[in-house]
Amino acid sequence: MQQLIPAFGFGLITASILAIAAVGFTLQFSVTNILNLAYGDIMTACAFAAYLANHAGVNIWISLVVGALFGAVFSMLLNRLVYFGFVRRGTRLFGMIIVTIAVSLIIQNLLLAIFRPTFFTYEASQGPSYQLGSMVFTASQLAIMGIAVVAMVCVHLLLTQTQLGKAMRATATNPGLARSCGIPTDQVIDAAWLVSGALCGIAGVALVLNTATFSETTGAAFLVPIIASAVLGGIGQPYGAMLGALTIGIAGETAAALMSPAYKDVVAFVILIVVLLVRPQGILSEIAAAKEVAA
């Protein structure tokens, strides 16, 4: 029990980062029907963008905004210049996944070639520690959790209260029908990549803030729990991804405390396998079912 409560605390932090990342990942899938396997590497690229800003003397929290902006613009351009081109040429779904993985290889190794194979750290203090029961959080960890909560509330408000959010949901459910109702789906898709890219950037910088050091493979290594969270919640469902992130984050850290830290991802993988066997469309399944991910 004494190990489990601090593990729960770590789980909450991991879940916060995971939630931001998984919601972005799942949003890309729901609006554009692309499973973007380069997502983890874009997170790393954003972490490097924030690193450059940070080492140019900018405060870490402003660097986080830089990372988010970079992620937004980069993701939108990636879709406009690469992914959308292939979609328009009629590349099939399994072709698209090869395209995304090729992009992932390119981004990861370009980062390696530019920044060299070493580990990097931000110049930021973790701030004072706070004791909550038997859980200890640093100020920056509390800030990460706060950012996650704010981001989730913003996504919720965007999707339910704004015209853009409603257009996104319409495009996700039926792009053809959305277009014939007068929704400019191309712009909506651009907006979806901007929003999800910003989430990707925030997640990338928050991940590095929490792990202290990072290299060119940091984001890619985080892809397994992201995918597991998104699939557990029902791929394409932002609320499902939040739920999935909470489950995977806490389960992973508990397993790390009980067994070995290396088995964090194995827990995510086991959950992924069980979900695929029992309910491949995930907990909240409307969009996954509509897109026929599993029959």
Binding site: G95, I106, L110, L223, I227
Partner: protein, 327 residues
């Protein structure tokens, strides 16, 4: 020819033959049957590990490396064991992941599998010696043949050529058989194939296992040649070198993918070995991976069917009012 040159050429030939075997197996899964197996290299890895542990002899306390199922089986049992082990793993993985999931969803699961397999092999040190991997794997029949190292190289190259020809004939037999036609039908239009009574799930599973066995054999032959095998030898991007070879050569065309193997894993990755080291250690390797990614993108964009596209069927479909282009 100097001995060093002969050594280099024979090694290159051995790599070429083994890579062709691996690529033919992937082509069967991806090109012919349309299964995207992003975890292909895992099955190569399992074959290699299996061949290693059944030829290294029983593990003992105080050994510098630790592993499971140690035995010293005679040639050619380790290679067969590698194929069987990879086939069994394919069966398990196939049953779980090849259900009626969308193709890209399946591929994503395979990628996750590949990442997790590396993690488990690196961390479960008792299994196959963790991140350090296995070393001093005996070369088959080295003592019995009594050849000098150079002669042995050429014999081994001949042995690889023999196996590659066997695999090629086997794969070609499958692609030309009614089974091959069914697989291509399934790849091009799954619903139509199941509508005419083909058990799509079973067919996929069969070809997934066959491809897995080929992968396992190629891994076993490779590990027995280089005498060492570790998680670093089968990281997930390696699958994409094979996939690039298939896409460049021409998916579902067995001669095409042999050309692809000559060009990508052997030609391209070997040729750049002779570049002088620039900037820093590791820069060229990083740029090689960038080029593999670009190669995949460029071929998918400009020549999605590869250099040698798949040959159209010998029987032209009769044009009818109902005939529609494939989905």
């Amino acid at each position: 020819m100097t001995d060093a040159m002969q050594f280099y050429i024979s090694t290159l030939l051995i790599y070429l033959f083994i890579d062709i075997m691996g690529v033919l197996g992937l082509n069967l899964q991806f090109g012919v049957a349309g299964i995207i197996n992003f975890a292909y290299i895992v099955f190569v890895g399992v074959g290699a590990y299996t061949a290693a542990v059944v030829s290294l002899g029983p593990d003992y306390p105080g050994n510098f490396q630790h592993y499971m199922f140690g035995a010293s089986w005679p040639f050619p049992l380790p290679i067969l064991a590698g194929g069987v082990a990879a086939g069994l793993l394919s069966l398990v993985v196939g049953v779980i992941s090849l259900r009626r999931l969308r193709s890209d969803y399946q591929a994503m699961v395979m990628l996750v599998l590949s990442l997790i397999a590396t993690l488990v092999a690196s961390n479960a040190t008792g299994l196959v010696n963790g991140p350090a991997g296995l070393a001093t794997i005996p070369q088959p029949l080295y003592d019995q043949l009594g050849l000098n190292p150079l002669e042995y190289q050429w014999v081994y190259a001949g042995w690889c050529l023999f196996l590659t020809v066997l695999v090629f004939l086997f794969v070609r037999a499958i692609t030309r058989s009614p089974l091959g036609r069914t697989l291509r039908a399934m790849r091009d239009n799954e619903r139509a194939a199941s509508a005419v009574g083909k058990n799509v799930t079973l067919l996929r599973l069969v070809i997934f296992v066959v491809g897995g066995v080929i992968a396992g054999i190629s891994g076993a032959v490779f590990a027995e040649f280089i005498q060492a095998w570790s998680p670093g030898s089968w990281l997930y991007p390696e699958t994409f070198v094979f996939l690039a070879a298939v896409l460049v050569g021409g998916a579902a065309n067995n001669w095409g993918v042999i050309l692809g193997t000559l060009l990508v894993p052997v030609g391209f990755l070997e040729a750049t070995r002779f570049l002088p080291p620039i900037f820093y250690q590791g820069f060229i390797e990083a740029m090689q991976w960038v080029c593999v990614g670009l190669l995949i993108l460029l071929f998918l964009w400009f020549r999605p069917n590869g250099i040698f596209p798949e040959k159209p069927g010998r029987f032209k479909p009769r044009a009818t009012a109902q005939s529609r282009p494939a989905e």
